[in-house]
């Protein structure tokens, strides 16, 4: 009975994983199809990839998207980390509830609502202060808004798990709170900051709905160009582009995951090592139990 239910569980798991991956694998297969027809295999070809290099509007949109993604994820990492520090370290302050709500709500808010409300804000701001003009600036500002939430969630859990006593020890030894934080805690939460930067980068690169609203008539990001092409039907060069993006993002994410695990493992090893050394020395046993 036990074994049978287990087998059923894993069958569903593998069915689910197959569902998640089959479309992407088929898409990559199509991208090497020499024939532009999807149901005919015309032989292996990399022609669609070569065609991408001559598509100027696509390349310009890709450049804009990359610039936006770098700016937005960098801004979001700063704001999100500050919010995480405030929420984890400061138990009470005026506006705490407001900050919690504003950090979590963008995660579930439908993009279409965020998009239109932010556009209306930007339009009204232009009337009042003649800033910001729609384009790069407004796209970055709105991407920072939804990315900040992801940074805060990621850094928050890491920070809550971090050992506070080291920082307190540093402060007891005369370091200022800021210095103790920068030298002790920041390295501990650095993997979370790096991986959330990468997450924001991919989310920003992928955003269609919010960008479409706030970009204005002049600017087009990569997803906007892809959407308008895809709306007209399947096109082989989009298959090639999509395969490139999916693979690049996949590599980034796996690298980020590996980075975080490796630094965790190294830290755990160092701690173990320090504890062992300490135990071998003069410390009483009760202090050496690893927590």
């Amino acid at each position: 009975m036990e074994r049978r239910s287990s087998a059923a569980l894993f069958t569903v798991l593998f069915f689910g994983i197959a569902l998640l991956y089959l479309p992407i694998l088929v898409l990559i297969g199509y991208s090497f199809n020499a024939s532009p027809l999807v149901n005919v295999w015309g032989g292996f070809s990399t022609a669609w990839y070569a065609r991408l290099l001559h598509n100027r509007p696509l390349l310009e949109a890709a450049l804009l998207s990359l610039e936006v993604a770098v700016a937005a994820s960098s801004g979001a990492v700063v704001l999100g980390t500050l919010a995480a520090v405030a929420l984890v370290r400061f138990a009470r302050f005026p506006g705490r509830l407001l900050l919690t709500g504003m950090v979590n709500a963008p995660l579930v808010m439908p993009e279409i609502i965020t998009g239109i409300t932010q556009l209306l804000l930007f339009v009204s701001m232009v009337q009042l202060f003649s800033w910001p003009h729609r384009g790069f600036t407004t796209i970055v500002l709105s991407h920072i808004t939804f990315c900040t939430a992801y940074v805060t969630i990621t850094v928050q859990s890491r920070l809550a798990a971090a050992d506070r006593t080291l920082e307190e020890a540093a402060q007891d030894l005369g370091a200022s709170p800021a210095r103790a934080f920068l030298e002790i805690t920041l390295p501990i939460i650095a993997p979370a900051i790096i991986s959330s930067w990468l997450l924001c980068f991919t989310l920003s690169l992928d955003d269609l709905v919010i960008s479409s609203f706030v970009a204005g008539p002049g600017a087009s990001t990569l997803p906007m160009v892809i959407y308008s092409k895809v709306k007209l039907g399947v096109s082989p060069d989009i298959n090639a582009l999509a395969s490139l993006i999916v693979c690049a993002v996949g590599v980034c994410i796996i690298a980020a995951g590996w980075l975080v695990t490796r630094s965790d493992r190294r830290r755990a090893l160092e701690t173990q090592h320090a504890v062992a050394e300490h135990a071998a020395g003069r410390a009483p046993r009760s202090l050496t139990a690893p927590s």
């Binding site: 036990e2 287990s6 569980l9 569903v12 798991l13 689910g16 994983i17 569902l19 998640l20 479309p23 992407i24 088929v26 898409l27 199509y30 027809l37 999807v38 149901n39 999100g80 500050l82 405030a86 400061f90 302050f93 900050l99 919690t100 504003m102 950090v103 979590n104 579930v108 439908p110 993009e111 609502i113 965020t114 239109i116 409300t117 932010q118 209306l120 804000l121 920072i144 808004t145 900040t148 805060t152 928050q156 991919t202 690169l205 992928d206 269609l208 609203f213 997803p223 892809i226 959407y227 895809v230 399947v234 298959n239 999509a242 993006i245 999916v246 993002v249 996949g250 994410i253 995951g257």
Partner: protein, 296 residues
């Protein structure tokens, strides 16, 4: 040790607080305001609500016409209901599929858990738009699925999936499944296995133990996962737009068309505000469970 309050802390709190206040919260106030304006052929394309008359009187002109329009034109009611229904059933199917998946991951050896989670999460981090497009390659009339089934001789005519509700359901389930699995895994992983052993020792069948112990204890994950799927699914635009046909009218699509097609910003704002009111309940539930989980 209770740390003393330092004024320097405001340097940490204020930047995110002010930024999110200005760029996340204030926009709703503007959308609310503009939902009472009228469309006008100018830049920006709506009338002023507050204006000065020639003799320096302050003039406030509000119209409820946009909201009345939402109530009288049945497109909006139909779209709201279709969105709610589609999101509800997609969430249910995601739950039925995601629960065993999360349970299997939680019961697998610790060393493989990380890998399985990465496999589940990877699609979420790769492009949403491109994944919906990739799904189109599978379910098109001449797509992968139909070609395969025709070759195998299982069907004689291609199945028509694109531009139907089935395509929208498949799209939502395919795109949002990871959001369901992750919170479920987080609660199932914390479950103490000795509770199930105790139940078995006391004569409980595995089914009974599941219903009495596992299911109630995983309820926070069920709710968090369901909200993470349901709320964005109601407002989904890309999936009904790319996979659905003219009958798969979801509210996100109506809002998009009102804005980009008809250039009627005030009506689009009214749609957004009405939609938001509909979502206040689910978002509040999500926030409540989220805060509780963070504190646990």
């Amino acid at each position: 040790m209770k740390p003393t309050w330092r004024p320097g802390r405001w340097l940490i709190i204020l930047p995110p607080l002010i930024f999110l206040f200005v760029f996340f919260l204030i926009p709703f106030a503007f959308a609310f305001k503009i939902s009472f304006a009228e469309a006008a052929p100018r830049v920006p394309p709506f009338t002023d609500i507050i204006s000065f008359t020639r003799d320096h009187h302050l003039q406030l002109s509000l119209t409820l016409g946009n909201y009345r329009y939402l109530l009288t034109d049945e497109v909006y009611g139909v779209a709201y209901l279709y969105s709610l229904r589609t999101a509800f059933f997609s969430t249910l199917i995601c739950l039925l599929l995601g629960y065993p998946m999360a349970y299997a991951i939680a019961r697998s050896p610790h060393s493989t858990q990380g890998l399985l989670l990465l496999i589940i999460m990877l699609p979420f981090w790769t492009s949403f738009l491109l994944r919906v497009y990739a799904l189109e390659g599978i379910i098109r009339d001449n797509g992968f699925l139909n070609t395969a089934l025709l070759h195998l001789g299982l069907i004689s005519h291609p199945l028509r999936i694109m531009r139907t509700s089935l395509a929208v359901y498949l799209g939502i389930i395919y795109s949002y499944l990871p959001f369901m699995v992750l919170p479920l895994f987080a609660t199932l992983e914390k479950l103490d296995p000795t509770l199930l052993e105790a139940a078995a020792d006391l004569g409980s069948t595995p089914r009974r133990a599941f219903l009495d112990i596992t299911l109630p204890l995983s309820l926070p994950g069920v709710i968090a996962g369901s909200m993470l799927v349901f709320i964005p699914a109601v407002g989904e635009f890309v999936i009904p737009s790319l996979l659905g046909g003219p009958n798969q009218l979801m509210i996100g699509r109506v809002l998009w068309d009102e804005f980009f097609g008809n250039h009627d910003w005030p009506v689009a704002s009214a749609v957004a505000i009405a939609f938001l009111l509909l979502l206040v309940g689910p978002i509040a539930i999500y926030q409540y469970y989220n805060v509780r989980q963070l504190e646990a």
